[in-house]
């Protein structure tokens, strides 16, 4: 683990293993009520956690405190589990299956069979980058992003799955759609997917356009 400088109000913790990020994120968030008082944001990334402080916080003391907190394991309390009912009707699904040389059903079964975890959030409020140990596919982004990806699109890029919380441009491969509300700023917990949340995709029956 390294602690890297990030200006006069933040430090960046870099981990060796991406899988260690959720546990450390939980420990650092909990420590904000103790040795990390003065830390305003704890932001996980693929292999890192950024800690941003309030003005006037003692950055050197915070960096020293992180080094003592980090080795402790996660609290072990069970993660929140969210099911995403999904219609596997995405425009890129057939092409991806062909590229991976599997049939559609096998690809869908691999997606719904995997246990996913929110590794980190970014891109837009409520967007979670989902990883799974049992998902071995590495999917290239589309060479030309779509100008409009519909709200609720279930998508793949790199090792990740993601769900678009609202309509936006996007370059991920679209494999399905969901009606689940990913973001509601009026909710007590506005984001459905937060770092560490466990996610399962559940296939819904849907009618093909031509059968």
């Amino acid at each position: 683990m390294r602690i890297l400088p990030c200006g006069d109000r933040a430090v960046l913790v870099e981990l060796v293993e991406p899988r260690d990020v959720p546990g450390l994120h939980e420990s650092l968030r909990a420590a904000r009520s103790g040795p990390l008082a003065g830390v305003v944001d704890v932001v996980p990334g693929e292999r890192t956690i950024l800690l941003r402080t309030a003005p006037g916080a003692d950055l050197a003391a915070i960096a020293a405190a992180i080094a003592t907190i980090a080795p402790r394991p996660a609290t072990g309390k069970p993660a929140r589990v969210v099911d995403i009912p999904t219609r596997y009707d995405g425009p890129d699904l057939a092409g991806l299956a062909a590229e991976l040389q599997v049939d559609r059903e096998a690809l869908v079964a691999a997606h719904t069979g995997a246990v996913w975890q929110v590794a980190f959030c970014g891109f837009t409020p409520g967007f979670g980058y989902l990883r799974s140990d049992s998902w071995q596919c590495r999917v290239a982004r589309r060479p030309d992003p779509r100008r409009r990806v519909p709200s609720g699109a279930v998508a793949l890029a790199g090792p990740y799955s993601g769900i678009y919380p609202h309509e936006s441009p996007g370059g991920w491969q679209l494999i399905g759609s969901t009606d689940v509300v990913l973001w509601d700023s009026g909710r007590a917990t506005p984001a459905l997917l937060t770092p560490g949340t466990t996610v399962r995709f559940v296939a819904l029956p849907w009618a093909a356009a031509s059968s």
Partner: protein, 298 residues
């Protein structure tokens, strides 16, 4: 304005935008603490100027103000109220009468307030006693121009509610308008200096960088020499900060602003100090900025 005058009363009604050119958004101290769910901090880009405007009219520091970017606006107030303009010194008139910069002044009921294009600086802050009282989102009334959270940008015809007046206006003090010439900004190391050649930090601090017109609340794009990387490949997405100087593969830096994305995949070479982010927020397209290194605190 004499000291010790307490102004309080019912809500001053609202303020109507009669004419809006350029960008006008509602801003307060933003919504920090939600970066781990993808929400930018937002808030006033020049926090010091916004805070001063609030203090001058007796508002709490967290009250919402209007952030004007190189614009000309005309507003009509329903009720009599106290107003102050800080930041970029756009000439301000009430029913045609010129009013002072960075000093609170009374505006009678139904008067028209006009702010014109500032001679220097980029962002003006207009505080009204009681604050702009649009509904908060995630605890803040700030417009996030990246995600769309918060109120939409102010447009002609909009009526914005004003909160009840309380608090004592602060006496005006010496206020320094943003300067026209080159601006010196302090930087300390970022996390990815090792992604760049040893020469790149020297190029960063030796060069005169020019603010590009495609700059906005998300980031300030700078034109200048190319900052070269020492390694290939993509950086795994990681958390980003206001003031972070990220360098895409084209080599032209972008300094993150108030509405910056919470994570990114371009390496950050250095970070503008927190205090100097306010000064960068007043640099307009074509203005020159220069960076100098300061010792990091950790």
């Amino acid at each position: 304005m004499g000291g010790g005058v307490i102004v309080s009363g019912p809500a001053a009604g609202g303020v109507t935008a009669l004419r809006v050119t350029g960008s006008v958004t509602v801003q307060d101290r933003g919504r920090p603490g939600f970066a781990d769910i993808g929400v930018s901090g937002s808030g006033a880009a020049d926090r010091g100027a916004a805070e001063l405007a609030n203090r001058l009219v007796g508002n709490e520091p967290a009250a919402a103000v209007l952030e004007l970017v190189l614009g000309e606006v005309a507003l009509r107030v329903d009720g009599a109220t106290l107003i102050a303009l800080t930041g970029a010194p756009g000439p301000i008139r009430v029913d045609g009468d010129p009013k002072p910069y960075a000093e609170p002044f009374w505006v009678p009921a139904h008067a028209t307030v006009e702010v014109s294009y500032p001679p220097t600086g980029l962002r003006s802050y207009l505080a009204l006693a009681g604050g702009i009282a649009v509904p908060p989102v995630l605890g803040s009334r700030s417009t996030d121009t990246l995600s769309g959270l918060g109120p939409p940008p102010v447009r002609c015809g909009d009526v914005l509610p004003i909160g009840p007046r309380r608090g004592t206006p602060a006496p005006p003090g010496p206020a320094v308008a943003p300067p026209p010439g080159p601006v010196a900004l302090a930087v300390s190391p970022g996390p990815r200096g090792d992604w760049f050649t040893a020469e790149s930090m020297r190029v960063l601090t030796d060069s005169a960088w020019v603010v590009h017109p495609a700059s906005d609340r998300v980031g300030v794009r700078l034109s200048g020499p190319r900052l070269r990387r020492s390694r290939d490949g993509e950086l795994p997405s990681e958390g980003m900060v206001r003031g972070g100087i990220q360098v895409p593969s084209g080599g032209q830096p972008i300094v993150f602003g108030a509405d910056h994305p919470t994570t990114g995949g371009y390496p950050v070479l250095a970070v503008v100090t927190d205090a100097d982010c306010d000064r960068l927020a007043q640099c307009r397209p074509g203005q020159v900025v220069r960076f100098h290194r300061v010792r990091p605190p950790a």
